[in-house]
Amino acid sequence: MGRAADKNAVDAMNLQLTSLLDHLNPDGGMPYAPGMPSFSEPTLLTILAFVAAGEAPRAQAPVEWALRNRNADGSIGLNREFPDEGKWNTPLLAMAMHHIGRTAEREAALHHILQSRSLTFRRSAENDLDTQLTGWPWVAQTFGWVEPTSWALLALRLAGKDNHPRALEGRRFLEDRCIPEGGWNYGNKVLFNNTLMPFWDTTALALLALGESNTSLANKNLDLLERTIPEMRSLSTCALVCLCLALHGRGTDELRRRIQAVLAEPEGDSLNLAHSAMGWIALSQRKVLTP
């Protein structure tokens, strides 16, 4: 593709990305779906989508929403109505603040992330987890799981805190949660001697979070993801797997085609604007989740 065609493709994409802003609520935040109140996750991913497109200034309203909805302790909850619930959104806040140059807000969010710890517990006979490893929970005072641990690691890595002891232990946590045959699910690998099924979105997220820290584990799971691309249909799964494969230098053409096709479909009942934003991030080919 020539340079002019490249520019046209980028312009067309940015035009479509702009349509995401049509869904902003009057308070400047983004709902998961039209008609809902604003929530942190779609709002913060929208900011990251515009950063990825090189259009950060156009996300001013979502940025202001995020700044207004931050908690005093540096975290962010689901929204103003539920500030103490859903603090698993805080890594997304740290990442958004990182990219827009709000260092103080980023550091406050990272401080909160480092204070948040999952519960450890006695090893049980039913599963084969290393239950003494600390990761990150969805909800305070509960156990650690793959997705919140991955987001916390991504935020720390983006801020250059890759070697913080919590990051090192978090990576060991993720390595431990990998299913023996490959892939990750929500965070259990074997229960009652049955190996559980991997999910492709959490597999991609865990691999993004682990980065290049464990090449053999990454390669085994990247191969698995590549083999299963034909099964992948949903926007969020395709977007996360696309980002993961791109990070590791693997081909993403097929996934990019699928993401473009889904984003071009008429918006129906199943619209999830957090997933749309993730789709745009994947299409941008710029790194915003990783350094």
Binding site: W138, W145, T202
Partner: protein, 321 residues
């Protein structure tokens, strides 16, 4: 059950209800539970389901109905989830009874991606276009005071579509559960709580005791009816890793404990040996078999001893009816 048998049973059971009223409702078997013979779901049973719903005096005219199936996880070849054909037929039944709106809502417990639950194209393709699917994991919730005594939680965040519905129908799959013994209409209520509040899985409910959470939720979440998909259930290491077991029955009723107890008995489990059902029995009637008035087929016809993990074998008995 063919149509003639159904009508005969229906007229008969109307008489039984009338007799119950005449005797002041003092009959021992006062909690109706209907068991329908549904050998497979390729045939359309929606009129039969509508008759049962009508007979159970569930008002649908002009109402907003929420069907809550179980889509905890997804695997193409495992019977993990409520059969989408049953969801389609129950939604048809609700619409035929005058429902203003029917929503299929789920907050799946393990998979965050709703494409693998309520947004799966196979579900959308089979439903009447008037029926809407809602991913209850990603959306608003209402803070509802906890009416139960067990978890110590002051409140639950219940998905707004559940709270806003006039009629909520819990539609679980008939399955064994490796922690709880069985998972049926009451355990299915975990999926009324959004993941954005509780995570994937809903670990705050686990750390407070799954049995405690089931009963507190059953006391708190407004559920009006249960329809258990026992056409093909899951035995062994349920609710995810078990294997298919054909039963050919759909169990329906207003009293969730009576419905779950009946389904458990069909699976070969004595509800009085399933701790969370016993705990629920302190708050709801329906635990004792003699409190239930069976309609339709007698459940003993479908008795199918489900394979289970060894720790639950002692909860099983050969004769439960």
């Amino acid at each position: 059950m063919n149509r003639r048998q159904f009508l005969r049973w229906w007229i008969g059971s109307l008489g039984a209800v009338g007799l119950g009223r005449f005797t002041g409702g003092c009959t021992a078997r006062s909690l109706p539970v209907t068991v329908l013979n549904v050998p497979d779901l390729d045939r359309d049973f929606h009129r039969d389901f509508a008759r049962v719903l009508a007979q159970d005096n569930l008002a649908f005219q002009g109402k907003r109905v929420l069907l809550k199936p179980n889509f905890v996880e997804f695997h193409q070849s495992r019977p993990i989830n409520t059969d989408i054909r049953l969801i389609a037929q129950i939604s048809e039944a609700c619409l035929s009874l005058g429902a203003k709106e029917v929503i299929v809502g789920e907050a799946a417990g393990h998979r965050r991606d709703p494409w693998y639950s309520v947004y799966h194209p196979s579900l959308k393709n089979i439903l009447d276009p008037k029926v809407r699917c809602v991913d209850m994991n990603h959306g608003p919730a209402v803070r509802v005071p906890n009416k139960g005594p067990y978890t110590g939680l002051s409140h639950f965040y219940v998905s707004a579509p559940v709270v806003n519905a006039d009629v909520v129908i819990s539609m679980p799959k008939m399955k064994t559960h490796h922690w709880m013994g069985v998972t049926l209409s009451m355990k299915n209520l975990f999926g009324t709580l959004p993941g954005i509040f509780y995570g994937w899985p809903k670990n705050p409910l686990h750390v407070r005791g799954i049995d405690n959470s089931i009963v507190d939720l059953a006391l708190t979440v407004p559920v009006h009816y249960a329809v258990v998909d026992g056409v093909t259930g899951m035995e062994g290491d349920g609710p995810i890793m078990g294997t298919a077991r054909h039963v050919g029955a759909v169990v329906m009723g207003k009293n969730l404990l009576a419905v779950d107890g009946t389904a458990a008995r069909i699976m070969g489990f004595d509800p009085r040996r399933i701790p969370y059902l016993v705990k629920a029995g302190s708050h709801f009637s329906g635990l004792r078999e003699r409190s239930i008035a069976y309609r339709g087929e007698h459940p003993s016809r479908f008795a199918t001893k489900f394979g289970c993990l060894p720790q639950f074998a002692k909860a099983q008995k050969d004769s439960l009816f």
